[in-house]
């Protein structure tokens, strides 16, 4: 593995000497060695904000649960499956992504305009945010760690064909790649191509085929396995 990136998670942050704040490295500030300092600090900040009435921890619980359980790639998969089965819906989706999603009861914070970009035989779309990690939360939930990694953010705009191939998607040279760097408040969703062999599938069966990576644009929707 050639990954030099430390963006993923916090497993290397469990020692006090990593601590950024010199004022909390005084003696008497040792935490249990297995607990990341960020966890300790986050708990203290939350407790204090709750005591002060700035935030309500019960509301924090609800939001965590919402993003862990209620919204995610399955939300976006419903949108894609509807677009594949309802041409009029697809036209509305491409014209105004948020309004079309609202028809399916989908919406939420951090997305004020959703631009849906359609893959074809000749054009493949893929999304990134080079400045932070902007992502269509109401449609796809929270982004995976690789989407937030320095490697993806730095490389996709410069060598998208190479990055996609490394991630398992080798595109023919004649297929144009369009990278969408979503650095404004406009969010993007890729409408992947419907795979062959799905002509008789229901909308729900189609939705079950659609994975997150196809809606970011680093994969295609795989054709269903033919029972042998």
């Amino acid at each position: 593995m050639t990954n030099h990136d430390t963006d993923n998670h916090d497993h290397d942050h469990d020692h006090a000497h990593h601590h950024r704040h010199a004022d909390s490295e005084r003696p008497g500030h040792s935490h249990a060695p297995t607990k990341p300092w960020q966890a300790t600090r986050a708990e203290a900040v939350e407790a204090l904000l709750h005591e002060l009435g700035v935030i309500d921890s019960a509301r924090v619980d609800e939001i965590v649960q919402h993003y862990e359980e209620k919204v995610g790639p399955k939300t976006g998969a419903r949108v894609v499956a509807r677009a594949w089965t309802d041409p009029a819906f697809k036209q509305r989706l491409l014209a105004d992504g948020l309004a079309a999603c609202a028809e399916l009861g989908i919406g939420g914070p951090e997305t004020e305009l959703l631009h849906v970009v359609e893959n074809t035989d000749n054009v493949h779309n893929v999304i990134v945010c080079t400045l932070c990690s902007c992502y269509p939360w109401p449609v796809l939930g929270l982004p995976p760690a690789w989407y937030k990694s320095s490697a993806y953010r730095s490389r996709l705009v410069r060598e998208p064909r190479t990055v996609l191939a490394e991630m398992g998607l080798s595109l023919a040279p004649q297929v144009e790649i369009r990278v969408w760097d979503s650095v404004s408040e406009i969010r993007y969703l890729v409408l992947p191509q419907r795979p062959a062999g799905t002509e008789n599938m229901s909308e729900d069966e189609l939705a079950a085929l659609v994975r997150r990576n196809a809606m970011i644009g680093v994969a295609k929707v795989a054709a269903p396995e033919v029972p042998s």
């Binding site: 593995m1 050639t2 990954n3 990136d5 430390t6 993923n8 998670h9 916090d10 950024r20 909390s24 008497g28 040792s30 960020q38 300790t40 600090r41 986050a42 203290a44 407790a47 204090l48 904000l49 005591e51 002060l52 009435g53 700035v54 935030i55 309500d56 509301r59 924090v60 609800e62 939001i63 965590v64 993003y67 914070p109 004020e112 631009h115 080079t130 400045l131 932070c132 939930g141 929270l142 995976p144 760690a145 690789w146 990694s149 490697a151 953010r153 730095s154 490389r155 410069r158 060598e159 998208p160 064909r161 040279p173 004649q174 144009e176 790649i177 369009r178 990278v179 760097d181 404004s184």
Partner: protein, 227 residues
Amino acid sequence: MNGIHDMGGLHGFGEVPVETDEPVFHARWEGRIFAMTQVLDTTGIYNLDEHRHEIELMHPADYLRDGYYGRWLFAMERILDRKLILRRTEVDRRLDEQAANIPKFSTLTPQRQWPLTAQQKIRWGAQRPEEPITPSFAVGDRVRVRNLHHSGHTRLTAYVRGRAGVVSKVNAESWIYPDTRAHNVGDNPQAVYNVTFDAQELWGDAAEPGTKINVDLSEAYLEHDET
């Protein structure tokens, strides 16, 4: 500002690290920091661009080391401290008291900028529909990105500065201008354009054939291309 956060085009970060069966949050504290930020976003203490800029102001080494939600924790503490909502010293004292097993924590001082009055609350949202705007560019226009390097917040990525492209979409809603809103010196609503760049224009001989890069840019970042 020209910071480590502006990563488009950088070399040296290796392969994209893909994890299988990844959880939404890798640790409980990540979920707490994420959700606490969502709640704080609704309080009027700060706006979205201030939050982003606070992250950009991290030391580059810390930015790379702390991870995504570590950056959010940093930004949360700094904003709350700077806005006199919750002082860093109060968090440190609480941690000291916990470490020393002090049975009752010391009382927090009542002096703080909380709760906020209606006038003090900073408005959220990326659009100002009550202030309609007139776009200066149209689909198909050739534009050149201004070569701006100011030290404050911007969403003008370094890799497109000075480069020419074609307007592919006009978002004529009244979008706030991040460069001024981040510093609370005005919303300056304006159009945001999707500009298509040929890879060759951005990366020269290193460009991959058959690739285009589309970037959303505020009107103030652009000028008509005279060449």
